[in-house]
């Protein structure tokens, strides 16, 4: 299992900014996520900027694994879709990528 230190080594710089993602946009997205989301603490978008960064990096890495199997050097949207399909954790993205999904390389076993 990956050491938490490796992630926290990335995110803990002792400073909280600059952030890689715009906080106002994150806040906007959070508010749109549901009627019941009314108030958001100031730190929430900052937490999300890190969480999104980790998420993007992870999905990118998994997608790249698919890319290089195809022996190309260009990461395509189909590679992203394949990575989503192959990862249980990303099931919430299935609808989003279903249009881009090629035939799955490895059919998921039923749960």
């Amino acid at each position: 299992m990956r050491q938490a230190g490796t992630y926290s080594g990335m995110v803990i710089s002792g400073k909280t900014g600059p952030h890689l993602l715009p906080l106002a946009r994150i806040k906007k997205i959070m508010k749109k996520s549901g009627e019941e989301v009314k108030m958001i603490s100031g730190e929430s978008p900052i937490v999300f900027s890190k969480a999104c960064e980790l998420f993007i990096k992870e999905l990118t890495q998994r997608s790249w694994m698919v890319t290089i199997k195809g022996k190309t050097r260009t990461l395509s949207k189909e590679d992203v879709a394949s990575a989503v399909l192959a990862t249980d954790l990303f099931d919430f993205l299935l609808n989003l990528v279903s249009q881009s999904a090629p035939a799955p390389l490895h059919p998921k076993p039923p749960n």
């Binding site: 990956r2 992630y7 909280t16 395509s76 990528v97």
Partner: protein, 143 residues
């Protein structure tokens, strides 16, 4: 008319994060960046929904950083939750220090909104050489 792009995370920022983790020679198609943009946006909505549910059940109105960390753990992003709890702690400590400093020098506290892709930040670059055949040891939390 709401600009679709306004509802998503900025593609330039998303693209830059992607490049940080890929080998230097890697290319990313524009459509892949768009897909990632949508996925990351959906990720925010998904986790926020979970966090706000918790707040609702506990009769709290404000979604805070701890709720987000909890939601990340509850949804299976365990590794992220752990790292982010630490980050949040550091952030809070930094904020306390900042507040203490601000008291000394009247609040000219500018709103810290980084809207645009800022210049080089000091975060260490994890230019991963992704070895072709290695398993994804780094990110292992599918059940």
């Amino acid at each position: 008319m709401v600009d679709e792009q306004e509802r998503l995370l900025p593609i330039a920022n998303v693209g830059r994060i992607m490049k940080q983790i890929l080998p230097p020679s890697a290319k990313v198609s524009k459509e892949a960046k768009q897909t990632m943009q949508e996925c990351a946006t959906e990720f925010i909505s998904f986790v926020t929904g979970e966090a706000s549910d918790k707040c609702r059940k506990e009769n709290r109105k404000t979604v805070n950083g701890d709720d987000i960390c909890w939601a990340l753990g509850a949804l299976g992003f365990d590794n992220h939750a752990d790292a982010i709890v630490r980050y949040l702690h550091k952030f809070r400590v930094a904020e306390r220090d900042k507040a203490a400093q601000n008291k000394a020098s009247c609040s000219r506290n500018s709103q810290d909104k980084d809207e645009e892709e800022s210049s080089e930040d000091q975060q260490p670059h994890q230019q991963a050489d992704v070895p072709s055949n290695s398993k994804l040891q780094v990110l292992e939390f599918s059940h």
